[in-house]
Symmetry: C2
Subunit: 339 residues, 2 copies
């Protein structure tokens, strides 16, 4: 989107220059009109690529939360979701790059993905076990991001993703391709899903998430605005944590992704629930009373009027319109609609 | 309420008898009017006693959920809440009976309560370690329920409470005293709170609560209609379970009680949040789409438009009006208002 906006600015500058040079009042008026129309069109433009955010599971390398079993990423979600990613990318021959940066055991997680995608007939999978910003600037990786059909961010720690890729050429290329290319897919599971949006939760203990200050937020990879993703949603009881994130950022919609469950997002707005579980949506637009600005850290928050939806497979949601689409066919039709 | 209704019926019968005997049309009309007015007044009547439902904690005798520490009831909640119960009952000299039936270690839990109430100067505490229906029919216990100023149900398993007391004289006396006597207190923590309403959750694993049929509901002790209580709410991530209970019973309001947190309820309607944590309210009145009647057991539920409020200490909620009261003074004023 940034890239397109820069292009527009150049275009506008050229028009202004022409207007100045011609010094003709009527032509000037026409040019003004043309500028206004183009500005409108550009602001209405939406990303042409697709996002797939999956509630997934944390991979083996990450400390599990209290009492939870340590399990591999891929034991959690059905191959059905991977199949959907492959299908959306254009089939099993398309090139997909799996970025395992979020994980502390990037090679093992990479192997898991190779196996899982292999099972559904995909052999054109690359693994990028990028450890730091220096790695992220490696020309070879940058070229691969330019050439692939889909990128997938694995689970782990979302702060590793934002800290490693924020401001890099590699992320910029992925963002541009997502904005400009139809069928370019950006998928993410667990931490990989949480990092997709501009506003990202990076910490928040579920059992204390009702206390002000317990939910930590920073800037994510920026593939989407106006949403906050959370993962492992029911399993880890994260309703309070996403609700606090929304209470402090009511311009965003909270998307609580269950395990083995995801949202396929087209046009940066139209969501379709996929997978076997639930996506819980928290809409803070109608919040009335909200004490979060007035109380000290560590005190319980008070919120009136959160609107909540439970989406199962096939239900849809429009982010800008904040509209729940109960009809599976309708949602599917909308998300698959050619842009 | 039942008792009052029976009284009204006798009164109405007497009026009808008079109407028949007098055979005077005009007097008949007046009597009709009087009956209508009395019926109206009686149906508007509300319980005079108070309920205190606390999110509490399960006591030592109950199997803890996976990964959770086994802790005693009383380690969980602040003496502040016990103080409030004592205050509402009329002071530390008033007689309180603690019913430890829900627990598998009723004597130990009883001792804990004696100690805790002792610390705040209450020495007039009785323990009722009732194990079964035969115990519940013991005349001595029945007399004690007639004589006390407050009853408190401990934590444990709410099904033990409903199965032991349902239909007993002891419960009937407690219900009548709650309906008819100002300052008669019925308190309950954890299972004791969940059993208070007519519609009671008795089972539901939090991590699978988004699947139809995973949340089991039965009839509770019936101190309150049109609400479903849940306890340990944030700590055990029970949002999905209460949401399912509300989706299947949208005439009820869900009251999700956090630990060390409770609702003081007057007139069977007016709630004031007390304690250090949160009460999360789920209102299903505006639900639009809801697939629960159409899907097979074990499938994820889909719900559009749950309304959710977070109440901290001092916030209020009116159940019949489904109205959140953000102003602490306002809520407190309402719940303390003389009936």
């Amino acid at each position: 989107m940034q890239f397109r906006f820069i292009q527009l600015r150049y275009f506008c500058n050229v028009l202004f220059f022409l207007q100045q040079e011609l010094k003709v009042f009527r032509i000037g008026c026409h040019i003004h009109l043309i500028i206004a129309v183009f500005t409108q069109i550009t602001f209405m433009q939406h990303p042409l690529g697709k996002l797939i955010a999956i509630g997934g599971a944390e991979d083996k390398g990450v400390e599990p939360e209290k009492g939870e079993l340590v399990r591999s990423n891929l034991n959690f979600f059905e191959l059905g979701i991977l199949r959907r990613i492959v299908e959306e990318a254009g089939g099993p021959n398309k090139r997909m790059e799996v970025i395992t940066t979020a994980s502390m055991i990037p090679y093992e997680v990479g192997e898991n993905y190779l196996n899982a995608f292999g099972k559904i007939g995909c052999t054109n999978i690359g693994i990028m076990p990028i450890r730091n910003r220096a790695d992220a600037m490696n020309d070879q990786y940058i070229e691969r991001i330019r050439a692939c059909n889909a990128v997938m961010f694995s689970g782990g720690n979302q702060l590793r993703l934002s800290a490693t890729f924020g401001g890099t050429e590699m992320l910029q290329i992925a963002l541009e391709r997502y904005n400009d290319e139809e069928n370019f897919i950006v998928a993410g599971t667990s931490a990989g899903a949480m990092a997709m949006s501009n506003t990202m939760i990076y910490e928040g203990n579920a059992t204390r998430a009702h206390l002000k200050g317990e939910v930590k937020i920073t800037t994510g990879l920026g593939f989407m605005d106006d949403v906050i993703f959370d993962s492992h949603f029911e399993k880890r009881g994260r309703f309070g944590r996403l609700a606090q994130a929304i209470a402090t950022n009511p311009s965003c919609v909270g998307i609580g992704l269950g395990e083995d469950t995801g949202m396929l997002i087209t046009e940066g707005n139209k969501m379709e629930a996929i997978g076997s579980g639930l996506v819980i949506i928290i809409d803070g637009h109608s919040i009335r009373h909200n004490n979060i600005a007035d109380i000290p850290e560590g005190n319980p928050i008070s919120i009136e009027n959160l609107k909540v939806h439970f989406c199962e497979k096939g239900n849809g949601f429009l982010v800008k319109e904040r509209e729940f689409l109960p009809d599976a066919d309708m949602a599917s039709m909308i998300t698959n609609k050619a842009v």
